[in-house]
């Protein structure tokens, strides 16, 4: 972590200057490498910083207080936007989880905020009574309750850290664009490794089973089968997220199924499996592979920024039985094709 302990320079205005760490606003290659590792699921659980009060620049008692989570990536993306500013950062203990998820769980919440204000002695450090919270923390925080218990008023800042400067310099007003959560192609692209890595782990298991099956099979599974399967996984975990708004329909499972079907149909044709001798194999794949893509795509609802609980329930009540039935019948056909040859 690139923080330096600047101890006595602003002692005059602080009640306990030694406790407050000054934060730099530049990210170093170690921070960037760490961010990359987190995206690919390497040791990401250990990525937290200590909760408490930090200073950026040389803040005084009139400087704004920004509240955030103790997930290192959240903290980094905030501090790199604060170059040239002087402010306080009040970091809540969200167990190393980002603001949005922590607010959903309530760890970025009223109780922790009230508690952290008391613990850091914020009351004696700033003379104003205003906190700027990230807007995405609002599902966990009851602003009225915070004011009642601490006397601090909550102002919800912009969704993206990149808009903080504009928000501060415009007298704490956010435009509609700053308030809106987007889900751009780039946003979706950076999430795909998190979909792909767990799917690849499951795939190892499936490959193990196929390997055992090959010991008995009259038509062993080979590289062509692997490519067909891998394609279906990529359709569900990478292609569907990236092409999301371009694929017709609304339900995620449907979008994934559609791409999975296109892939499987092309793949069967390409391998010349449209012939009568390959009937079992071809229909087995048409039933299993698109269903698998649909399932993986449906999992992307967890990463999207616009799906509601009621919507996902409705989608799953329809999709889950269809996916299960289609997979089971398909697997039976594939087994028959493999064992009978």
């Amino acid at each position: 972590m690139s923080m330096s302990n600047d101890c006595c320079s602003t002692a005059a205005i602080l009640s306990s200057p030694n406790d407050i760490v000054t934060v730099t606003t530049e990210l170093h290659y170690k921070d960037l490498l760490g961010a990359w590792k987190v995206r690919w699921g390497i040791g990401r659980m250990k990525y937290k910083i200590d909760p408490g009060l930090y200073r950026v620049g040389s803040p005084d008692q009139t400087s704004p207080v920004l509240v955030s989570a103790n997930y290192k990536l959240t903290f980094d993306s905030l501090r790199k936007e604060l170059t040239g500013l002087s402010c306080w950062l009040l970091i809540l203990d969200t167990k190393g989880i980002n603001v949005w998820c922590a607010a959903g769980k309530g760890t970025f919440g009223t109780a922790e905020l009230v508690n952290r204000i008391a613990k850091t002695g914020l009351y004696g450090i700033v003379s104003h009574h205003k906190l700027i919270l990230p807007q995405l923390g609002a599902p966990g925080v009851n602003a009225l309750e915070v004011a009642r218990q601490t006397g601090f008023t909550v102002v919800y800042g912009p969704v993206r850290a990149g808009d903080i400067k504009a928000f501060l310099s415009s007298g704490l007003t956010a435009t509609a664009a700053m308030r809106a959560v987007k889900f751009t192609t780039l946003d979706r692209l950076v999430l795909t490794p998190m979909e792909l890595v767990p799917a690849a782990k499951t795939s190892l298991l499936i490959l193990g089973v196929l390997f055992l099956l090959n010991l008995f099979a009259a038509r062993p599974f080979g590289p062509a089968d692997f490519i067909g399967y891998a394609g279906a996984v990529l359709m569900g975990t990478v292609a569907t997220p990236i092409l999301l708004p371009l694929i017709p329909g609304r339900a995620f499972a449907w979008k994934g199924w559609l791409l999975g079907l296109l892939w499987t149909a092309w793949f069967i044709w390409f391998n010349g499996w449209l012939a009568p001798g390959f009937l079992l194999l071809a229909s087995g794949y048409l039933l299993t592979l698109p269903a698998w893509s649909a399932f993986l795509a449906m999992n992307f609802t967890g990463s999207s920024t616009y799906t509601s609980f009621s919507g996902v329930i409705k989608e799953m009540k329809v999709a889950a039985p269809l996916i299960a039935a289609s997979s089971v019948i398909g697997i039976v056909l594939l087994l028959a094709a493999a064992l009978l040859g």
């Binding site: 190393g96 989880i97 769980k105 609002a138 599902p139 999207s304 609980f309 799953m316």
Partner: protein, 96 residues
């Protein structure tokens, strides 16, 4: 491009007679669902509500109700299997 999820499923409702017109709901909503004119809030775009619950929790007049929850298939499958409430805890990713 604005994303659209399933229509007519969101559980959001607004009791406009209780509204005091503070504008907090427009401040917290990440999908611009609310608008306030003449000191009264209205729901502009219910189908874009993701049921995060921010508006209902922060409305000082208790005018908004929504059944909030995580819109995440993996969490819901996990809750069906374990009988617990769906939460982002289902994955070991540390973030949903």
């Amino acid at each position: 491009m604005k994303h659209s999820y399933l229509k007519n499923v969101a559980t959001l409702s607004l009791a406009a007679e209780k509204c005091v017109g503070c504008g907090r709901c427009t401040e917290v909503c990440p999908h611009g669902v609310f608008g306030v004119t003449d000191k009264k809030a209205r729901i502009n775009d219910k189908d874009h509500c993701m049921e995060c619950g921010a508006c209902a929790l922060n409305c000082p007049a208790n005018a908004i109700s929504v059944a909030s929850g995580v819109g995440c298939a993996a969490a819901i499958i996990w809750s069906w299997l374990t009988g617990n409430e769906p939460s982002c805890d289902c994955s070991d990713s540390g973030c949903c």
